[in-house]
Amino acid sequence: MEYMILLHSDETYPTPAPGAPGFDEMMAGWLAYNQQLIDGGHWIAAANLQPTLTATTIRRTPGAAPSVTDGPYVETKEQLGGFYLIKATDLDEALALAEAIPLPVGSIEVRPVSFRPDAS
């Protein structure tokens, strides 16, 4: 069974920049987590997104031309910032893996994948 783990967090929450104190420790946490997924055979894919400042949204409405606007599809305090796509036997395992994600603040949404065209 595959699960998508969506990481939502407050983009204004201070995180260390590359080279700043604490950056290496932060990265070490994420790398260790990734390794845990790989070693456990859970890894499929993952990505960290650029901030919503860089987002562009195309909105479609039936009967109207699509409009292209600057920004994410909805302005909220917490924004989608990245994801993991993992393999797990059931929701309990997926939740346990999601709980181990070193996200300091925000919400972690776990959703079962219904269909993935490039799945083996």
Partner: protein, 440 residues
């Protein structure tokens, strides 16, 4: 289909036997089938089929010697029928449109629950209703119904329906919601269990998950005990009794969990006092005014034993503390001889454990009983977050009345009355307003 041997019983027992079959045995059978076939929906449908079959055939054939075993056999056969029908439908689709079906996880031979149909049917052959495995299955089912990935309302509905064997209309009427709403809630929850694959498994962090079950059972009991619905309705009592029955089940499955014993004792103490709680006119009677001879002494004794067993394990928790408080009341011969200072201390401990403003309110009331209305009011005045809670205003009213301020007390009782929908509580508050008016 071959049925187990049948032995006749008096037909007058039939209705009771059918209810007993649903309440006492269907949850256990469902739990077994759900594990064996790894499919909650299939197990539920098949048990429902089995209960319908009992209602159809028992009036003619009589009540079987072993109703649980009968239901197991019938429900398992129904499950096998359903699986075979689904498999042949799949084969027909496959034969008709192989290109469409190839590679689709939804339609190939091994469906989402895992294993081929024959494997799953074979897995269902060696089942027995009794024994340690059956207990574990029931615990798994309870854990599943109270899984944190389901919302609280769904947890309550699933627990009563799948573990407790209540029908959807029974649950809906107990909670005063339309049956269609409840049915939809159950369907949605079952769909999430299936599609997100919430497992039937005993988790590593069991205590945490058992706490969720206790929370659900506590809520069901409170709904029965302090119902928003009409006191005249039997269903209210029934709900309290269902909660006790399910808590007893959990207590039997997990005897080493002290909080389960605590919750069971708490419920039984309250249940024992229900006889004195509402008078013949349907009005709520305050603890102080209750006729304690109406309390069920045998039940209080049972609760004392359960509580003693739980407390012995030295793993304190909020349910045990509440049960100890309930024990203080239940074992006191009168309001005056109640150990209020001890109760105030217990509430202080509970307050520290739960950080609930309602508990803090109870503590203030206990302090008022122990040290006088002024001491109680000082604590009440510090509370926030209870502005919409009728008992907060009722308690303030009582303390104002004791302190000799009937005018202020009347305002409090009027506010409290506007905030509750329970008819017995409303009547009681009307009487308190009348008392204030007499003093003025």
């Amino acid at each position: 289909m071959t049925l187990p041997p049948v032995a006749g019983r008096r037909p007058a027992d039939l209705q009771a036997a059918l209810i007993e079959l649903a309440r006492e045995h269907s949850g256990r059978v469902l739990a077994l089938l759900a594990r064996q076939f790894n499919d909650l929906d299939l197990a539920d449908e098949s048990v429902q089929d089995g209960l319908l079959e009992a209602a159809r055939s028992w009036p003619r054939q009589g009540i079987p010697e072993n109703p649980a075993g009968w239901l197991m056999t019938v429900a398992r056969n129904k499950a096998v029928d359903r699986l075979r029908r689904a498999a042949s439908a799949r084969r027909r689709t496959l034969a008709a449109a192989p290109d469409l079906v190839a590679g689709s996880a939804v339609l190939d031979g091994s469906d989402s629950a895992g294993g081929t149909v024959d494997e799953r049917i074979a897995g269902g052959e060696q089942m027995q209703v009794g024994g340690r495995d059956g207990d574990e299955d029931q615990l798994r089912l309870m854990l599943l119904c109270c899984h944190p990935a389901l919302d609280r309302d769904s947890q309550v509905a699933l627990t009563l329906r799948l573990v407790g064997g209540l029908t959807t209309p029974e649950i809906a009427s107990a909670f005063l919601i339309p049956a269609a709403t409840l049915a939809q809630r159950i369907v949605r929850a079952k769909r999430k269990i299936r599609d997100a694959r919430i497992p039937l498994r005993i988790p590593d962090r069991l205590t945490e998950r058992v706490d969720a079950i206790l929370g659900v059972l506590y809520l069901i009991f409170n709904e029965g005990y302090l119902s928003r619905t009409d006191n005249a309705q039997i269903i209210r009592l029934d709900l309290a009794d269902q909660a006790i029955r399910l808590t007893q089940l959990l207590y039997r499955l997990l005897p080493e969990n002290s909080e389960t014993g605590g919750l069971l004792a708490l419920q039984v103490f309250h249940r024992a006092r229900l006889g004195g709680r509402v008078d013949s006119a349907g009005e709520l009677v305050l603890l102080a005014d209750q006729d304690r001879s109406l309390w069920d002494v045998r039940m209080i004794e049972q609760a004392n034993v359960i509580l003693a067993g739980a407390v012995q394990r030295m793993q304190p928790g909020p349910y045990q503390l509440q049960a100890i408080i309930a024990a203080q009341h239940a074992n006191a011969p009168s309001q005056e001889s109640t150990d209020w200072p001890a109760i105030a201390v217990l509430y202080q401990q509970l307050s520290a454990m739960t950080e609930s403003p309602v508990v803090a309110l109870n503590r203030a009331v206990a302090v008022a009983m122990a040290d006088g209305p002024l001491a109680g009011r000082a604590l009440l005045d510090q509370l926030t977050g209870l502005e919409r809670y009728h008992l907060f205003h009722a308690a303030r009213g009582e303390l104002q009345l004791q302190a000799g301020n009937p005018g202020a007390a009347r305002d409090c009782f009027t506010t409290a009355r506007a905030l509750t929908e329970n008819p017995a509580e409303r009547q009681h508050l009307d009487r308190r307003v009348a008392v204030c008016d007499r003093f003025r």
